[in-house]
């Protein structure tokens, strides 16, 4: 992924995470990172440096909730989506889609001279 791509995608990571948690049972960090990568055919990859700050921020906003569990001799932190999170996801989903539609239609225009 190029630097520009990464920069472009930064804003959409939260929605990817919310999407994953919305459809599934609780997930932990590594699982989220791995799923994003697999489901996007390696197009999207969230580094730990981005992933955890986003998770913590989402939790702070009350969109997701965490709990701890002892697994394989270590403490694992799971995240699950809250009702507020679900609503927020739907909202963002619509927003992103409309932004992308507008973006696409803009980019697909043949003439870029304004209709004056």
């Amino acid at each position: 992924m190029s630097k520009d791509q990464a920069e472009l995608l930064k804003g959409i990571y939260p929605i990817l995470i919310l999407k994953l948690l919305n459809g599934n049972s609780p997930m932990y960090g590594y699982q989220i990172e791995k799923n994003v990568r697999i489901l996007s055919d390696d197009q999207f990859s969230i580094t730990q440096g981005s992933l955890y700050p986003i998770l913590h921020k989402l939790e702070e906003k009350g969109l997701i909730k965490s709990f701890h569990k002892e697994v394989n001799n270590r403490t694992r932190k799971y995240y699950k989506i809250t009702t507020k999170g679900r609503k927020n996801y739907d909202l963002r989903n619509t927003e992103v889609r409309s932004i992308f539609d507008s973006l696409l239609s803009f980019l697909n225009r043949e003439s870029v001279a304004p209709d004056l």
Partner: protein
């Protein structure tokens, strides 16, 4: 699945890379563990997987941080922060610095002195191939007499007979000061005149300023002056070609001027006369004698020659030439002379290798004490700064940066300490030189710079590492809450306590040693030496022959002075002089003994007690050939009881200007043993007789009153009889005390160091108590509320320190007793170590701890608990 150990490794790897925020650390550990498990499933080993996962992801952030930082700006800011934090904690900074500066100054001063000692004779270009011949000979009582002397004819003969010997130089220095008169008639008494071979300037690397090195000493009656002597004699005139008169007899011509001898040379002189003058102008008949050892011989060997082989060749030659003398020779390397053990007749006094080592150990001990002090104080004061560290960590700092931050503070301290210590040394430099009675040679500037640089670094590392490591290791949340010790068991021997105990041990050790050394010195000064040394004035007589005719006149004049009790002549003075020795015959057996020439008043002046027989008497004409012996001599001759000795025949070979002759006579008296030499030596057997030409000292017993006026009358009488000669007098008691100069200096040094260590320990203790009290201020408050009195609280706090003192005491005392007993063995007369010497330092330490801690603790204990507990 990873084991617990592997999970720990992951966690540590993360911490090392700066992940310190605990909630994140926990999550990331799980994250990396999962990744590693995946890698392992793909066939990686754990270590490979760990390396790839941790470095692939986590490091990026830190690497970026490090590369983005400007290291110089960072260090500058740390340096500034270091200074600021030192300025903020002024009380602690002063305590820390005082201890360190004191310790470092003492250590640096000692190192400079040790350097001076080690640098002795190192400046000679040929130092590695120059050796001195020294000799040993077994004595009658089973000892070995070791002397620096050798015979005059040896050197030239060895150059001829042993091919490995390239060159030789001989010296002679008369045991007493000699008279030198300038042409203008001014008289100087010189004890720094040596007579040396013409090879002197080619063998040694002394700087000749004027004159040809090959020629200045090549002919009889030539003399080279040192710069300061030339200045003294001739002022601004050119000295070359000028003449001086030796002992009012021999005229010497000045042929050269040399730089003053470096203070780190074991050869010291003010004038160097040509050796070829001996035997020609004076000192007849004895210069060719192989058996008389009164000279110093230095040999320069071929670079590849084996000194051991040459030594055995010299031994063979001596065994052939003088088999009856039973002398064994040793070749002593030039650079080993200064610390080459205590030989008799050294040109300049030697130092003991052990005492130099001791000096280093003491210096190191004091340095270690002051570092311990610093570490203790810093680690204690750092406890007040846990919040600061927590804060810095939260802001994104990692272990490495925290470490650098604390080490920078140590660096600032170390730099300041060195700067202040050098200032202290600069200020005390003149006093140091006076105290050590020398002018210390400084190492070359490159060496000093290199040493200071490494010393600053070492001090920084030693003093800062412990605290820096501890602080950088601290967990964020407890450090922010300020309870990093909560839940930890209280250890009896924490690092800080162990360090404190080491200080106590060093303190007790130094104080106990100084007590014991003081006692031994007191023994010297107070012990009955068998003769009365109080109020005895000794005058050294010049060697000129006409003086002897005038001595009777002088004695008469002196006896007439009110306040002069008695006047005596003798060949040696008591205290600091070394006796002649001769072989004495009773029948056919001969025994080697000390020889002293006295007159009729000698026993009277010094209050020496007669145990049998009588004193010499003017009324008895034959007494000029009779003898008085001491108890030791009587017992060696086998005269028991002592009265057996009286009227026994005794003889020895004496020497006068015509040569050797047998002096025969009877023993007329036996005196008690008295310490002719210092108390380092046992009393030796001694025989006394009358030989007026050998009298070099006039001793005057003064009455107890009107000291000053008697002295001036003595001066007047002297100048009437010897108007040309200056009066050189000294008090026997002073000269006796002077023999213990080294010991007196050792005593002073040990006392001084005892005090310094006590002072350093007091700084440390003061600081520690201060912190301890601050940390436990609430505990004190609670205790007060529950009814404790201030004294009870004081007792509680002090108990801990006292326990440390007692443990330290138990550890160090056996070692000190062993060490001191070993040291005492070097004295013929020694004290037994008394219990007082051991108990008093202990009590002193206890008292000192109570005094230095009480103020702070009592102050805290008297504070109103309502104030200290207000925030709970």
């Amino acid at each position: 699945m990873l084991t617990k150990n592997q999970i720990n490794q992951v966690q540590k790897a993360l911490s090392r890379r700066g992940v310190n925020y605990e909630p994140l650390l926990e999550e990331l550990t799980d994250h990396i563990c999962e990744q590693i498990e995946d890698h392992i499933a793909e066939g990686y080993t754990f270590q490979e997987a760990l390396d790839s996962c941790v470095s692939a992801h986590v490091v990026h952030s830190n690497q970026r941080m490090y590369t983005q930082l400007n290291p110089i700006t960072m260090l500058k800011s740390y340096f500034k922060l270091g200074l600021r934090s030192l300025y903020r904690n002024k009380f602690v900074t002063v305590l820390k610095l005082s201890g360190l500066v004191l310790g470092t100054s003492v250590f640096l001063a000692l190192l400079l002195h040790i350097y001076h000692e080690i640098s002795y004779d190192q400046f000679h270009v040929n130092k590695d191939t120059i050796f001195r011949i020294v000799t040993e000979r077994p004595t009658e009582h089973g000892d070995v007499s070791r002397t620096a002397f050798s015979g005059a004819p040896w050197g030239p003969a060895l150059v001829k007979e042993i091919p490995e010997v390239l060159n030789t130089v001989r010296f002679m220095r008369y045991r007493l000061p000699v008279s030198i008169r300038s042409e203008a008639g001014q008289q100087f008494m010189e004890d720094g005149l040596i007579w040396a071979d013409s090879s002197f300037f080619s063998l040694f690397s002394f700087d000749l300023i004027k004159g040809n090195p090959q020629k200045v000493l090549s002919r009889p009656d030539q003399v080279v002056l040192t710069q300061s002597t030339a200045q003294r004699y001739f002022g601004s005139e050119d000295p070359i070609g000028q003449q001086i008169i030796y002992e009012d007899d021999v005229v010497l011509t000045v042929t050269g001027i040399m730089k003053d001898f470096p203070t780190n040379s074991h050869i010291q002189a003010d004038l160097v006369g040509s050796f070829s003058s001996l035997g020609r102008s004076f000192w007849f008949n004895i210069i060719d004698n192989w058996g008389i050892r009164y000279y110093y011989t230095y040999l320069r060997l071929q670079p590849e020659a084996s000194p051991v082989l040459v030594q055995s060749k010299i031994q063979d030659i001596l065994d052939t030439r003088i088999p009856e003398n039973n002398i064994s020779v040793t070749l002593q390397a030039l650079t080993h002379i200064r610390m080459g053990g205590n030989r008799n007749d050294e040109l300049t006094p030697n130092v003991d290798k052990t005492s130099v080592t001791m000096e280093f150990i003491i210096g190191l001990l004091i340095m270690v004490m002051s570092i311990i002090n610093y570490v203790n104080l810093t680690s204690a004061s750092a406890l007040k700064r846990t919040k600061e560290v927590g804060m810095i960590k939260v802001m994104g700092s990692n272990r490495g940066l925290i470490f650098v931050r604390f080490i920078s503070e140590s660096f600032v301290i170390s730099l300041t300490t060195h700067f202040l210590s050098l200032t202290v040394i600069y200020l005390v430099w003149p006093y140091l030189n006076t105290f050590l009675d020398t002018s210390l040679i400084l190492p070359p500037i490159e060496q000093i710079s290199l040493f200071l640089f490494s010393s600053i670094v070492i001090l920084t590392v030693l003093s800062g590492t412990y605290t820096a490591l501890r602080m950088s290791d601290m967990k964020i949340i407890p450090s922010l809450k300020g309870d990093i010790y909560r839940g930890q068991p209280k250890k009896l021997l924490s690092v800080r306590r162990v360090l404190l105990m080491v200080q106590f041990i060093a303190c007790i050790g130094l104080i106990t040693s100084s007590f014991i050394i003081s006692d031994q010195m007191d023994l010297f000064f107070k012990r009955d030496t068998g003769f009365e040394k109080e109020n005895v004035l000794a005058i050294q007589l010049s060697n000129t022959s006409e003086a002897y005719g005038l001595l009777a006149d002088l004695k008469n004049k002196l006896n007439g002075i009110e306040g002069v009790d008695a006047v005596a002549l003798s060949s040696h003075h008591l205290g600091g002089d070394q006796l002649y020795t001769s072989s004495y015959y009773t029948s056919s057996d001969s025994i080697n003994m000390g020889r002293l020439h006295i007159d009729y008043e000698f026993l009277n002046v010094f209050g020496i007690e007669l145990l049998a027989g009588r004193d010499f008497s003017l009324l008895n004409g034959s007494d000029t050939s009779n003898f008085i012996i001491n108890e030791q001599a009587a017992s060696l001759f086998g005269f028991e009881p002592l009265s057996e000795a009286i009227d026994r025949n005794l003889s020895y070979f004496a020497q006068n200007e015509e040569g050797r002759y047998l002096k025969q006579g009877k023993v007329v008296g036996v005196v008690n043993d008295f310490n002719f030499q210092s108390l380092h030596h046992d009393i030796e057997p001694m025989v006394m007789d009358i030989q007026p030409p050998r009298n070099h000292f006039l001793s005057i017993k003064l009455g107890k009153s009107e000291y000053q006026s008697t002295l001036s009358k003595v001066g007047k009488a002297w100048s009437k009889v010897f108007p040309e000669e200056s009066l050189n007098y000294f008090f026997i008691e002073d000269s006796f005390t002077n023999q213990y100069k080294t010991e007196a200096r050792t005593q002073l040094i040990v006392k001084l160091f005892g005090m310094v260590s006590l002072l350093i320990a007091s700084f440390g203790l003061l600081g520690l108590t201060y912190f301890d009290t601050m940390m436990r201020i609430k505990e004190i408050g609670v205790r007060k509320i529950l009814g404790s009195s201030s004294l009870q609280i004081l007792r509680l706090f002090i108990r801990e320190y006292l326990l440390l003192i007692i443990i330290g005491f138990g550890l160090v005392i056996p070692f000190i007793i062993w060490l001191m007993n070993d040291w005492l063995q070097s004295f013929a007369y020694r004290i037994d170590i008394s219990v007082v010497n051991i108990i008093v330092p202990l009590l002193l330490m206890v008292g000192f701890v109570i005094v230095s801690t009480s103020y702070t603790i009592l102050k805290a204990a008297r504070t109103n608990p309502a104030q200290t507990l207000r925030n709970e």
